[in-house]
């Protein structure tokens, strides 16, 4: 049968040989409505080198794309920039099929890969800053620990000024267009931002340090080739600038109100808080966890200055979907937020206190006392909610 999966040329010597996952909609809790790609790259240097592999079920697609340009048996080196299974899942079988001379990973990557897979060969550790000769080309490795796993590293193809950036600068977007400049800019802007919010956000301080380090080293990039989504060859300054902006987490005149409701009381409070926030001059996103996905909340929180959280009390606790979003947010560590809690209850009303404790743990600055109401909020309670929103807005505006 004729092979229909082809490699796509990125530069003179570099080819994209990844796989397209049109159907994936959930990435460990992050909703990926446009699917994704698992990008692997082939460098046709004197020593033919494969950068990363793909998720296990997509191995044949990758091997077919490789075979469209070179006999896979000629691959001498495999570099694993990131050990997570969507990029390493097919590594053991690819090693068996290709029999490369060497497989490289960061020092932590060697440990992680060995723990993940029964590998019958030694993985060679490369150090931060080390350069590997591919004959007529050379790759320099840059450790990027916790961006976004401890093993993560970048590989820089010196002669082409091409950065293999693994998950950084990536996005979940399935497409047959391989380059960002071929895609709809509005979709790129959204998908890159929500990827940052859902994956990279907790490590924002490291993103800032990395940008500083790369700038100080005077590295310039002609192409950034990430492990998911399209390749950047024109908007390089733009995507790096966006990362610097998102990582700085400088609050903007924007608030997010997230809540869930049982019998619409907490919803009424949420509406009143939102009106107050808007009256105070902030843009507001009101999100019901009964309707929206947690990934959308994190996306909206990017650049927000305020977070108001509401939940009724169910059996002495938060509603489960509010525990879901708060657990997710806690891990993603958004910073520089002004916050407040509110909620209705039938008899005991612990939820507001629970939210306040979580917000405190998240280092969210409390704008005012949480508002609890028994059963249904009356006009006086709703006015207090409105005023709480206004107070939050004032505090945010004083920080702008």
């Amino acid at each position: 049968m004729q092979n229909t999966f082809k490699a796509v040329r990125v530069t003179e010597d570099v080819w994209w040989v990844g796989a397209i996952d049109w159907n994936i909609r959930d990435f460990h809790g992050y909703q990926t409505m446009r699917g994704s790609t698992y990008n692997a790259y082939l460098i046709l240097a004197d020593s033919i080198t494969l950068i990363d592999t793909v998720k296990a079920p997509f191995r044949e697609e990758m091997m077919a794309r490789i075979a469209s340009v070179v006999d896979p048996g000629k691959i001498e080196y495999i570099v694993s920039n990131h050990s997570e299974m969507d990029h390493s899942g097919s590594l053991p079988e690819v090693i068996a099929a290709v029999n490369p001379k060497k497989v490289f990973a960061s020092t932590v990557g060697v440990k992680t890969l060995t723990e993940l897979f029964p590998l019958d060969r030694k993985i060679t550790a490369v150090q931060d800053g080390e350069t590997l000769s591919l004959g007529n080309r050379s790759l320099t490795f840059l450790e990027t620990r916790m961006l976004h796993w401890p093993d993560s590293m970048f590989a820089y193809l010196n002669e082409e000024q091409l950065l293999f950036s693994q998950d950084a600068f990536g996005m979940h977007l399935a497409s047959l267009e391989r380059f960002a400049d071929e895609c709809d800019p509005a979709i790129l802007a959204y998908e890159a931002a929500t990827y940052y919010a859902n994956i990279i956000l907790p490590y924002s301080p490291l993103v800032l340090k990395l940008i500083e380090r790369v700038t100080a080293a005077g590295l310039s990039f002609r192409i950034i080739a990430p492990d998911h989504g399209p390749i950047w060859r024109k908007e390089i300054v733009g995507i790096i600038g966006s990362y610097a902006k998102w990582a700085a987490q400088k609050p903007e005149a924007k608030a997010v109100v997230v809540y869930a409701t049982m019998w619409h009381s907490t919803e009424k409070m949420a509406r009143a808080v939102s009106e107050g926030l808007a009256a105070g001059g902030l843009g507001v996103k009101l999100l019901s966890m009964d309707e929206v996905h947690r990934s959308d909340v994190v996306y909206e929180l990017l650049g927000a200055g305020a977070l108001a959280v509401g939940s009724p009390t169910l059996n002495n606790h938060l509603l489960p979907n509010m525990a879901d979003i708060l657990t997710y947010l806690k891990g993603l560590k958004p910073r520089n937020l002004i916050g407040a809690a509110f909620g209705s209850y039938g008899w005991s009303g612990e939820a507001v206190k629970e939210i306040e404790d979580i917000l405190a743990e998240m280092k969210v600055e409390k704008a005012g006392e949480g508002i609890r109401v028994k059963n249904v909020p009356d006009a006086e309670v709703l006015t207090r909610c409105y005023e709480l929103g206004k107070t939050m807005a004032e505090k945010v505006r004083s920080r702008l």
Binding site: V108, R145, P205, L206, K363
Partner: protein, 52 residues
């Protein structure tokens, strides 16, 4: 007072800085950090750290 490095993510605990987000002020040596203190970057436990 020496610095300690996280074996998981490479974060360096510097006693001269402390860990303000966890309420650890300046001048607290690594040995005197609470036993339940964790790496502010990756969450690793204290026993993952080694002297720099």
């Amino acid at each position: 007072m020496g610095k300690y490095v996280c074996g998981i993510c490479g974060y360096v605990y510097d006693p001269e800085v402390g860990d303000p987000e966890a309420g650890i002020g300046e001048g607290v040596p690594f040995e005197r950090l609470p036993e339940d203190w964790v790496c502010p970057l990756c969450g690793a436990a204290k026993d993952e750290f080694t002297p720099e």
